[in-house]
């Protein structure tokens, strides 16, 4: 092919290859993917120009629908259309007692709930992976090549189980995870780099289903998180739900079917968004029973029915300030993140608490994905000379062990800067004790029962000793993603046991690798389709070039040579419309080889023509 196309001298060489990295905001309500293009972070829209992807997955009979398509049918197919799956990540059924409003058929499984759908049982990890996969494909279409890596954001207050679940989902979606990044920190990066800010800032991040508050010190290119707090089950969804309850109460309708619940939740959300700009919002709906609802919700009523929710965000704000040893008055600015911060009562509560109007100059829906894209660009190795900044983040919840009497011994305190490693020594409690149970927990409470259980493992083979003689060193290590691994070692004998803390959410490592394999099969389907298309384009070009060359310079060939080229040409034409990429590729290669000599002769002829011409000119 190359020989038939004679390259023009001075033709632009391709630029130094930028590695392709994206930032992904995997949200409760909406998700986004962004990248850095020409040193500017930009959100990558879908083919219709829409930046958001509703975080909704519908398991259809034939296909899986993600985004707007799934959103449109959610009221018709509530059991198979999964919304707000982020709330289920790393959560057991018992954790969801206040979340009965989900109409799914839940299956209780150890560690994490599962959902019965028409295509079988799905875990929240698999559902999230569908959203991430849709974003990956969107990015690859937009950037024209497979991604080198991605930064995926998580609420700062996500615990180890929720983080691990998110990372697994990203792996399942075929992403190379460069880093899990805390959402408010991502927002601070986007805001701070954009505004050249210095000083202590608070990021108030109220998303669809999670709330985070982070206090950061920005100085000379260092983003240092001082403290973080939050609530992983509080967000815009809850405000919708209050409106939904109000609608049901005001209209006096009877028991509401799952489909109608979805319908009314959608109406509630529309009303909430409406109230951001209007003093009242109409709510009109017709239920499946034929019953009609027609109400009007005023901003005052909305504020009144959500007062406790607004108040619930201020507790973590105070806690974060206390942990950072700061007063509200020492905060230079409050950056608002998340679509739910558009609600006027939130804006007012934050302004009142901090004694200053909050900062709203970045799009609250997009800022997290933009910050993640900036971080991804740096981590993948595209850092430019002037980008000299560093991020120092913290772990949101204390990590510890169960000790005698069901009490928690904290090894790493909350808000410790990561990465971090800490060791502590323990001993045996009984004479001749040969094994020790190590139970890793996360949380602030004294009693193990009140903390989240992360993992259990055993150190066995301790030689018989009197109680208290063994020296067992337990080491906790938290990496830059905020993920924990624990190891234990008996100091005298060197017996070791360790565990990368994998929460037991019903997915064994075998399950994960099976799902990964399946996803690779699908991913390779996608890649195969793309490769076929590329080969077809190449085939078209070589067919056109060869035909043109034959028409112009056939006399340079012997009859045998010409027959050989023509037969190779017709073989490419025959295969070009088929699906067999390998055969087509082989035919293209064969055609290339058969035309090498022809191409060389044409080159000679064009060169001697040029020389001849020049000589004639020179003689004249």
């Amino acid at each position: 092919m190359a020989l038939l196309q004679i390259a023009e001298p001075g033709e632009a060489l391709p630029e130094k290859k930028q590695r392709l990295a994206v930032g992904i905001d995997l949200g409760t309500t909406n998700s986004l993917v962004a990248t850095v293009r020409n040193s500017m972070p930009v959100v990558l829209p879908d083919e219709e120009g829409r930046p958001l992807l509703p975080s909704i997955v519908r398991f259809g009979v034939q296909e899986i629908d993600v985004g707007y398509g799934a959103e449109a049918v959610q009221a018709r197919d509530p059991h198979n259309t999964i919304v707000s799956v982020k709330r289920l990540m790393g959560r057991g059924l018992a954790d969801l007692s206040d979340d009965r409003r989900f109409p799914y058929r839940f299956i209780d499984a150890p560690g994490m709930v599962q959902i019965q759908t028409r295509v079988g049982v799905r875990t929240p990890v698999e559902v999230s992976a569908e959203i991430l996969k849709a974003l990956r494909l969107r990015a690859e279409r937009s950037l024209g090549a497979p991604l080198d890596g991605a930064v995926v954001t998580v609420p700062a207050y996500f615990d180890d189980a929720q983080r691990q679940a998110t990372k697994d989902a990203a792996r399942l979606a075929g992403l190379n995870v460069l880093r899990l990044l805390n959402e408010p920190t991502a927002a601070a990066i986007a805001y701070g780099l954009d505004n050249g800010s210095e000083g202590i800032y608070a990021v108030y991040d109220l998303g669809g289903g999670t709330f985070d508050i982070s206090i950061l010190k920005l100085s000379r290119g260092v983003f240092e998180v001082l403290a973080t707090a939050g609530d992983t089950a509080l967000g815009g969804d809850d405000f919708d739900h209050r409106i939904y309850c109000w609608i049901v109460e005001e209209s006096g309708v009877g028991p509401v079917s799952p489909g109608d619940t979805r319908l009314l939740m959608v109406k509630a959300r529309e009303a909430k968004e409406n109230l951001t700009v209007h003093p009242s919002a109409p709510i009109d709906a017709t239920l499946s029973s034929g019953e009609a609802i027609s109400l009007s919700l005023t901003a005052d009523t909305f504020a009144a029915i959500t007062r406790t929710l607004v108040g619930k965000t201020l507790g973590p704000v105070k806690k974060a300030l206390r942990d950072a040893k700061l007063e509200a008055s020492q905060i230079k600015g409050v950056v608002m993140v998340g679509g739910a911060t558009r609600m006027p009562q939130i804006q007012k509560a934050v302004a009142d608490f901090f004694g200053q109007p909050p900062l709203n100059n970045l799009n609250p829906d997009q800022v997290v994905s933009l910050g993640a894209a900036i971080q991804a660009n740096v981590l993948v190795g595209n850092r430019s000379e002037d980008e000299d900044w560093l991020l120092l983040d913290v772990i949101p919840l204390s990590l510890g062990l169960e000790t005698m009497g069901g009490l928690t011994e904290k090894i790493i305190p909350r808000n410790a800067t990561i990465p971090i490693a800490r060791a502590q020594e323990f001993t045996t409690f009984k004479d001749g004790q040969s094994a020790m149970a190590i139970h890793v927990v996360q949380g602030e409470r004294e009693r193990v029962a009140d903390c989240r259980s992360l993992a259990r493992f055993e150190l066995r083979g301790i030689p018989p000793m009197v109680a208290g003689a063994a020296r067992i060193q337990v080491t906790f290590q938290v990496d830059a993603d905020g993920l924990l691994s624990v190891s234990a070692r008996e100091q005298m004998t060197g017996i070791e046991a360790s565990i990368a803390v994998k929460p037991s959410y019903g997915l064994s490592d075998t399950d994960i690798s099976r799902m990964l394999e399946e996803s690779y099969v699908h991913a390779s389907d996608d890649m195969e389709a793309r490769a076929l298309a590329e080969t077809q384009v190449e085939a078209e070009r070589i067919v056109a070039a060869t035909s043109g060359a034959l028409a112009a310079d056939a006399e340079l060939l012997t009859l045998d040579e010409r027959t050989a080229i023509e037969s190779a040409l017709s073989e490419v034409r025959r295969l070009a419309s088929g699906r067999d990429r390998r055969a087509l590729h082989a035919a293209v290669e064969a055609l290339n080889r058969s035309t090498e000599e022809f191409a060389a002769r044409r080159m000679d002829r064009s060169v001697s023509k040029a020389l001849t011409g020049r000589r004639v000119d020179a003689l004249n």
Binding site: R422, T427, A435, M436, E444, R471, T475, Q477, D479
Partner: protein, 198 residues
């Protein structure tokens, strides 16, 4: 086999990484790591600046695209720098570390004695805290917090002269233990306040 949960023995610094190529020198003590003199009194600005400079060299984000071995080393180095910074930033921890460099274990499990008059005063105070917490008396909790903080501040001055001027390491050891006790009290009062707020 009967499995028994861990039985607490005491904390210990991490063993040092046996690595040949190092981003930081793991054999250096925390003061040397930051280029500071081993003294109780230190310039917080200087510590902050040295910490940031080191982290911007060793943090895993700076080595994200490197080979596995280098990334692991970055993780270990960065973790050690964080631990060193935490130990020096907090005055009581710094004093405890300084005593450790002098071969004195301030918080050994075998000797937990405190001066009886100190203990008596603190037991009374603990009672006052739990009474205030139980009756939801926020003002009383705030007042107790301020009192304890003032006492901490006084003891830190005592500690400075014991460590940096008099080299009275034994009495410094007592002061560190008292300060540790008071820090725990502050944490308890703060969590009682947090409980009231939530």
């Amino acid at each position: 086999m009967e499995l028994i949960p861990v039985f607490h023995l005491g904390s210990k610094p991490l063993p040092q990484g046996a690595t040949t190529t190092t981003m930081i020198d793991f054999s250096q003590n925390y003061f040397a790591l930051f280029g500071l003199a081993p003294r109780y009194r230190l310039d917080a600005g200087q510590l902050d600046a040295a910490y940031r400079k080191l982290q911007s060299e060793v943090h895993p984000d700076r080595h994200a695209a490197a080979a596995e071995a280098e990334r692991r080393l970055a993780l270990q180095s960065s973790a050690r720098v964080n631990e060193a910074y935490r130990a020096l930033k907090n005055p009581v921890d710094r004093a405890q570390y300084l005593l450790g460099l002098n071969g004195i274990e301030a918080m050994s499990e075998t000797d937990t004695a405190l001066r009886p008059e100190f203990l008596e005063r603190q037991l009374e105070r603990r009672e006052a805290v739990s009474d205030a917490a139980a009756s939801g008396d926020r003002r009383e909790l705030d007042a107790l917090l301020a009192k304890v903080r003032a006492e901490i501040s006084d003891l830190e001055h005592v500690l400075e002269s014991e460590l940096d001027r008099e080299h009275a390491l034994d009495s410094a050891r007592t002061t560190v233990r008292e300060l540790k006790f008071l820090s725990k009290l502050v944490a308890d009062i703060e969590s009682a306040i947090a409980e009231l707020e939530s």
